[in-house]
C-alpha cells in the first residue's frame, strides 16, 4: 500500500508529477460565493482522487455543494463564486494554475462535462450535427463534411442514436435523446474524465436507465473515468464503484459503494440511507430530523452535529477531518 489513491493530505511531489494511480486528484479545493450577506462556503477543503476507469459518485442533498464541486473541477464557476484554494491535478498538471485559454482547450479534450438538464444545454437553433462540429472546431479539429458525417454517425451510434438525429434540432428529440446527444458531445474528443452532473434528473426512470447504460458503454469505450454527481442514492448504488457523500459543503465520507450501503461510516450517511424508500420492505423509511445548516453561518465544530443523535461535546467544538477509518473507507467524524 505505497500510495493511497483515496483522500490523502500529502502534497503532490515537488516536480508536480503524481505517482498515484489517480487520473484526477483534488486537493483541498474550496469554492465560496461572495454575496452581500457574507461568503457562502459552498465547497470547503475537498480532497479526493479518481482512479483510472473508475466510476466515482458524489452524492448530496440540495445545497450540499455537489454541483459547485462539479463545476469547479472544470473551472466553470462564475461570479459571485470563486475558487478560493486548492489544486486539481490531471495529466500531471494543476488545472488551477493554467491560463484561461489552456483550460478552455483542456475542457472537452481531457475533462468533459455532461451538464445538468440537457434540455437547456443544447443550442435550440442549431442542428445536432452543427453543435458537434462547433465543439470539434473549437478544439482545432478541422475535418471536411464527409469525414465529419462519418465521425458523427459513429459517435451517435455509440450512444444508441440513429444517424437521422444528426440533422435534427433539439426540440425534435425527447429528453432522453437530448441527454444522449450531450453524452456524444462529451465523448467526442475522447476525454480521460467525464463529469456528469445530475445527467438524468429531469428524466423518467425508464429513460434514466437507458441514459445511464449509454454512459456506461461510452465510458468503457473510452476507458475514461466518470464522476457522477447527484442526489439520487439509488442511482449511485446502481452505477458507481466508490461513493463520496457531501454535507454542508464538505466531503463527510468516501468509501466503496458496497461499504457505504452495508456499513456507512458517517451518521449522516447512515440516516440518509435510512430515509430512502425501499421497494422491498414497507415502513423502512425514516426522515432525518432538522434541516441542513445555512452555508453562510455554519455551526461550530461538525456541521452535522445539531442533527446528529450521537453528537458529543467534541463535535460541537472541533471540525472533524476526513481520515481513513477502514481500508479504503474515509470519514469526517470524531466517532467513526
Amino acid at each position: 500500500m505505497a500510495v493511497r489513491s483515496t483522500p490523502s493530505h500529502e502534497p503532490p511531489r515537488g516536480d508536480g508529477r503524481l505517482v498515484s494511480p489517480d487520473v484526477l486528484r483534488v486537493n483541498d479545493l474550496s469554492v465560496h460565493y461572495h454575496t452581500p450577506g457574507g461568503a457562502v462556503r459552498a465547497a470547503d477543503g475537498i480532497t479526493f482522487g479518481v482512479r483510472a476507469q473508475e466510476r466515482l459518485g458524489i452524492a448530496g442533498e440540495s445545497g450540499s455543494g455537489k454541483s459547485t464541486l462539479a463545476l469547479a473541477l472544470l473551472r466553470l464557476i462564475k461570479a459571485p463564486g470563486r475558487i478560493e484554494a486548492g489544486e486539481v491535478w490531471l495529466d500531471g498538471r494543476d488545472l488551477m494554475t493554467l491560463s484561461d485559454e489552456e483550460m478552455r482547450r483542456l475542457r472537452l479534450a481531457r475533462i468533459a462535462l455532461v451538464p445538468q438538464g440537457s434540455m437547456n444545454s443544447l443550442n435550440p437553433v442549431l442542428r445536432i450535427r452543427d453543435q458537434v462540429a462547433d465543439a470539434l472546431r473549437d478544439h482545432g479539429v478541422e475535418i471536411t463534411g464527409r469525414q465529419h458525417d462519418e465521425r458523427l454517425r459513429d459517435l451517435l451510434a455509440r450512444v444508441g442514436l440513429g444517424p437521422a438525429v444528426a440533422g435534427m434540432f433539439p426540440h425534435q428529440l425527447s429528453g432522453g435523446m437530448k441527454q444522449r446527444a450531450c453524452i456524444a458531445i462529451a465523448m467526442s474528443l475522447s476525454p480521460k474524465v467525464i463529469v456528469a452532473d445530475e445527467p438524468t434528473s429531469a428524466l423518467d426512470v425508464v429513460v434514466q436507465r437507458q441514459v445511464m447504460d449509454t454512459l456506461a458503454v461510452a465510458q468503457a469505450d473510452l476507458g475514461a473515468s466518470v464522476i457522477l454527481v447527484g442526489h439520487d442514492m439509488g442511482l449511485m448504488a446502481q452505477f458507481v464503484d466508490r461513493l463520496g457523500v457531501m454535507y454542508a459543503g464538505r466531503l463527510v465520507e468516501i468509501s466503496r459503494v458496497r461499504d457505504v450501503f452495508s456499513e456507512p461510516l458517517h451518521p449522516y450517511t447512515r440516516m440518509l440511507i435510512a430515509s430512502l424508500p425501499s421497494l422491498d420492505r414497507k415502513g423502512a423509511f425514516r426522515g432525518i430530523p432538522g434541516l441542513p445548516p445555512p452555508l453562510r453561518n455554519l455551526p461550530a465544530g461538525c456541521a452535522f452535529h445539531p442533527r446528529c443523535p450521537l453528537a458529543v461535546d467534541r463535535c460541537r467544538r472541533e471540525t472533524p477531518a476526513l481520515r481513513e477509518t477502514r481500508p479504503d473507507g474515509w470519514a469526517a467524524c470524531h466517532l467513526a
Binding site: E61, S62, G160, L173, S174, G176, M177, D204, V205, V206, V207, Q208, R209, Q210, M212, D213, H231, D232, M233, G234, L235, M236, A237, Q238, F239, V257, R258, F261, S262, M271, L272, I273, S275, L276, P277, S278, L279, D280, K282, G283, F285, R286, G287, I288, P289, G290, L291, P292
Partner: protein, 355 residues
C-alpha cells in the same frame, strides 16, 4: 359507505375535436371512487405524459372532462351551485408539487394559514384561530414559534411543504389530493412529510389520493395503487401485489428500471429495455404500450385491452390475461384492498418536535 369523490369513465383530450386526428388523449376512460370515512391512501403512479396531472386537475374540478363525469357526493363537479362549490373547496384539499409557487412572497407564512380560517369561519376568536393554526403546525412536526411570522423565503422547501400539509389539516377535509407533494424536496425530508400526510389520513379517517412518479414512496405510503401509462390505467389494485409481482409488461419495465438504493437489488442485467417511442399516442385503436412491449401480439395493435380482473385485489389491462373476467369500470375500487389504515391515534399524541 357511499362514494365521496368519484370519476366515472372520464376522458380528457386536448386540441382539436374528438374526431380530429391531431388531438392528444391525456386521460382515457378513467374510473375511481373514494369511499367516505375510511383512512386509505391510493397512489396514482405514472411517468411524465401519463396523464397524472390532468387527472389531479379533473378531480379538483379545475378541468372539465371531455367525456364522462367527476362527481362529489353524487353532484357533477361541472354543475355545482355556489354553495356546493364552496363546500367542495373546503372538503377537498389539494397539496401541490411546488412549495414555492403557492406562496405570495410579500405575505408572511401566517397568511396562507389564516385566510382559510377566516374564509371558512373555522374559529370564533383570534385566540382560537391562533390555537388552531399552532396545533396544525405541531401536527406536521413544525414549531409554531419558528414558523409563524416568517416570510416564505425564510423557510426551506421542506418546511414550506409541511406548512401546506398543515393548511390542509386545518380545514379538516374529507378528501386530500396530493400531486407530487415531495418531488421537489430532499430525500431526508420526504419521509417526514409523507409521514405527516399519512398520519393525517389516520387522524381524520379520510381517503388520500397520492399522485406521483415515484413508485418507491407510493409503495411506502399507499395501500392501493393505480399505474397510468399514456393516459390509460394499465394495472391497479393492492400495492403489495402490484409492486412485488407486477403483471403488466409496462409495470414490470417501470419497476425494473427503478434504481434501488441497495447494492443487492441491482438493475437486472440483460438487454437494454425497449426504445421509448417519441411520438405522443393518439391512436385510439390499440394498446398504448404496444410499440414498446416485448410481449405484443397482433390483437394489441388493433384493439384496446380492457381492465381484466386477474385476482380479487388486482386488475390488469393486458391481453396476456384475456382469460380473466373484464372489470366493469365502476368496480375498480372493488379490486382495492379494503383493510385500510389503523384507527386514529389518541388525541394526546406526542408531537415530533423537530422542524
Amino acid at each position: 359507505m357511499a362514494a365521496l369523490l368519484e370519476a366515472r369513465h372520464v376522458t380528457k383530450t386536448f386540441g382539436g375535436g374528438l374526431l380530429d386526428r391531431t388531438h392528444t388523449v391525456a386521460l382515457r376512460g378513467f374510473s375511481l371512487a373514494l369511499v367516505e370515512g375510511r383512512a386509505s391512501v391510493t397512489a396514482v403512479v405514472g411517468e411524465s405524459g401519463s396523464g397524472k396531472t390532468t387527472l389531479a386537475r379533473l378531480l379538483l374540478g379545475l378541468l372539465a372532462p371531455t367525456a364522462g363525469q367527476v362527481s362529489y357526493r353524487g353532484q357533477d363537479l361541472t354543475a355545482m351551485s355556489r354553495a356546493q362549490r364552496r363546500t367542495f373547496r373546503r372538503e377537498v384539499q389539494a397539496i401541490f408539487q411546488d412549495p414555492y409557487e403557492v406562496y405570495n412572497p410579500f405575505y408572511r407564512v401566517d397568511h396562507v394559514l389564516s385566510v382559510p380560517v377566516h374564509k371558512f369561519g373555522l374559529a370564533g376568536s383570534r385566540a382560537q384561530a391562533r390555537r388552531l393554526i399552532e396545533d396544525a403546525l405541531r401536527a406536521v412536526g413544525l414549531r409554531p414559534e419558528e414558523t409563524l411570522g416568517r416570510f416564505p423565503h425564510q423557510l426551506s422547501g421542506g418546511q414550506r411543504q409541511r406548512v401546506m400539509v398543515a393548511r390542509a389539516l386545518l380545514l379538516r377535509p374529507r378528501v386530500i389530493l396530493a400531486d407530487e407533494p415531495v418531488s421537489m424536496v430532499d430525500a431526508s425530508l420526504r419521509a417526514t412529510i409523507l409521514g405527516a400526510l399519512r398520519q393525517m389520513t389516520v387522524d381524520l379517517q379520510i381517503p388520500v389520493v397520492y399522485i406521483t412518479h415515484d413508485l418507491a414512496t407510493a409503495y411506502q405510503v399507499a395501500e392501493n395503487i393505480v399505474v397510468l401509462y399514456r393516459g390509460a390505467v394499465v394495472e391497479a389494485g393492492d400495492v403489495e401485489l402490484v409492486v412485488k409481482t407486477p403483471r403488466h409488461p409496462y409495470t414490470r419495465l417501470l419497476i425494473g428500471s427503478i434504481p434501488a438504493p441497495s447494492v443487492e437489488r441491482t438493475w437486472a442485467t440483460g438487454g437494454p429495455p425497449a426504445q421509448p417511442s417519441p411520438r405522443l399516442a393518439s391512436a385510439a385503436d390499440g394498446c398504448p404500450f404496444e410499440d414498446r412491449c416485448p410481449d405484443a401480439m397482433p390483437t394489441c395493435r388493433t384493439s384496446v385491452p380492457p381492465l381484466l380482473r386477474t385476482e380479487t385485489h388486482r386488475a390488469v389491462a393486458c391481453f396476456l390475461y384475456r382469460d380473466a373476467p373484464v372489470l366493469p369500470p365502476q368496480e375498480m375500487v372493488a379490486t382495492f384492498t379494503q383493510a385500510g389504515l389503523p384507527p386514529a391515534r389518541p388525541p394526546d399524541r406526542p408531537c415530533r418536535p423537530h422542524g
